[in-house]
């Protein structure tokens, strides 16, 4: 990703808007008793578009802002989401993304990973409650939501960040040669 001040401003706006939208809307609606989680899909999409660095840094930023606004211990969300962004970036750097299903599938798989990660962080912080078997259903349902959320998020971000995307620039048609005097 080619980072210019304009692209950086767009990335910051995306992160802030994403977190606000998650906390004010998605976390407070229930679809089949589950609140969809937009943020893993957002971080994964940024990683898929920008690579490991963009994924990790945006994951860290999203997690940090989330922890700040939820007045939760800082660092937990950042850690989980930065690893997620990095993994999404690895997918972009190691494989050629040709199929349109790669983005939503990555969002689905990595959302499951994020939720497990949050569970691990809670265990690390000393949570010692029983875990209901219903949690497995919730995790799977959130992953399915991420599949459907990931698609528009990825396409929207791709459009928004198009000037900074390296392969899009490479694919752009070179200027047509003109014959002088013809």
């Amino acid at each position: 990703m080619i980072l210019t001040p304009k692209i950086l401003a767009r990335l910051i706006a995306v992160v802030v808007l994403g977190v606000i939208l998650q906390l004010s809307f998605f976390s407070q609606v229930a679809v089949f008793h589950i609140s969809p989680d937009l943020l893993p899909a957002l971080v994964v999409s940024l990683g898929l578009l920008g690579g490991t660095m963009t994924g990790a840094v945006s994951g860290f930023a999203v997690g940090f802002l989330l922890d700040c606004l939820l007045v939760a211990p800082l660092g937990g969300g950042s850690l989980v989401l930065l690893v997620t962004g990095y993994l999404a970036g690895l997918v972009r750097e190691r494989f050629e993304i040709r199929s349109p299903l790669v983005a939503p599938l990555s969002c689905m798989v990595l959302t499951f990973f994020v939720e497990l990660g949050f569970g691990a962080v809670q265990l690390m912080l000393g949570g010692n409650s029983n875990v209901s078997s219903a949690v497995v259903g919730d995790l799977l349902a959130q992953s399915v939501f991420a599949f459907f959320l990931g698609w528009p998020i990825y396409l929207g971000l791709r459009r928004l960040l198009r000037p900074a995307l390296i392969e899009d620039q490479a694919l752009r048609r070179p200027p047509r040669a003109t014959v002088l005097g013809a």
Binding site: I20, L21, L23, S24, F25, F26, S27, Q28, V29, A30, V31, F32, H33, S35, D37, L38, L39, T52, M53, A56, V57, F60, G63, F64, L65, L66, D67, C68, L69, L70, V71, A72, P73, L74, G75, G76, S78, L79, L82, V83, V114, E115, F118, G119, V121, Q122, L125, G126, G127, N128, S129, N130, V131, S132, A134, V135, V136, D138, L139, Q142
Partner: protein
């Protein structure tokens, strides 16, 4: 050139991971800190505006969800309504008797809000997105008199307790959060225990460490115990409604001293809550 890039990338990643662990180590167990207070001060108004603006959209989505849910519940609620009608007649008589007794004893308690507490109404402006944490953020904070450990209720019953505050907002740890534990008792038996959540299922709480010899059965109401001993006291005042016993299998009761409780408050759909401020804090 490529190697240099890879090295730089790894260094940034390592820095971020170490930074996360350092933040976690420094801020764990502190409640709110300066950074969070600053960020919260900046974003609280934005969140309030966004929450207000998105309320119609939220209500629409939730209406669809509730409509689907309501279809299944309709028949069950009809039978529950009949039972409730019978109970309400008895309860009305009991309330009248209770009011007279209270007058006689000179107790000036309303029953809904324990005496000595000042309710502060707040709106839920944010909610933790992950299934592991059951926390919500409300739009009242220390500026409104809210303090850490203040009990939080809604019209149905106990919701949780304040776990961190900033000037204009507070984080409420719901009773369905993995780290929540509330001293409770079953009425009218008076059997005491600790209400703990089943992570991932906010509609199912467990009442642990109870005296298995007593006859606990489905439908009995669970309220806060509000104990006080040797200078220590529960954060929750006594007799705040928590929920009702939904499952009390003799085997489970005998083996692990545990019954299942459904909270009265719908913890997935919280909108307005009341923080009980000013009570005796631990």
């Amino acid at each position: 050139m490529y190697r240099k890039q890879v090295r730089r990338r790894r260094a940034v990643l390592a820095l971020l991971v170490i930074g996360s662990f350092v933040l976690l180590t420094i801020t764990y167990g502190q409640g709110s800190n300066g950074i969070q207070r600053g960020v919260s001060t900046i974003f609280s108004p934005v969140q309030s505006v966004a929450s207000g603006a998105l309320k119609p959209a939220r209500d629409t989505v939730n209406w669809f969800d509730k409509t689907f849910d309501a279809r299944g519940r309709n028949s069950r609620l009809h039978s529950e309504l009949e039972a409730s009608r019978r109970q309400s007649v008895g309860a009305a008589a009991a309330m009248a008797e209770n009011a007279q007794l209270r007058k006689l004893l000179g107790l000036h308690r309303s029953g809904a809000i324990p005496s000595g507490y000042e309710p502060v109404t707040g709106e839920v402006i944010a909610r933790s997105p992950t299934v592991w944490y059951a926390d919500v953020t409300i739009d009242v904070g220390s500026g409104d008199g809210v303090a850490v450990n203040d009990p939080v209720v809604n019209g149905d019953g106990l919701v949780g307790a304040v776990s961190a505050v900033t000037g204009g907002s507070a984080q409420v740890e719901l009773i369905a959060d993995g780290s929540s534990a509330v001293a409770a008792k079953v009425v009218p038996l008076g059997v005491q225990g600790v209400i703990k959540p089943e992570v991932g299922d906010p509609g199912d709480l467990t009442l642990d460490f109870i005296d298995s010899a007593r006859d606990i059965h489905r439908g009995q109401v669970v309220v806060t115990a509000g104990w006080r001993a040797q200078g220590l006291a529960s954060h929750f005042p006594p007799n705040l409604a928590i929920g009702e016993v939904t499952r009390a299998s003799p085997r489970e009761l005998e083996a692990i001293g545990q019954v299942h409780v459904r909270p009265f408050a719908d913890l997935r759909n919280l909108d307005l809550v009341q923080v009980l401020t000013g009570g005796s804090r631990g």
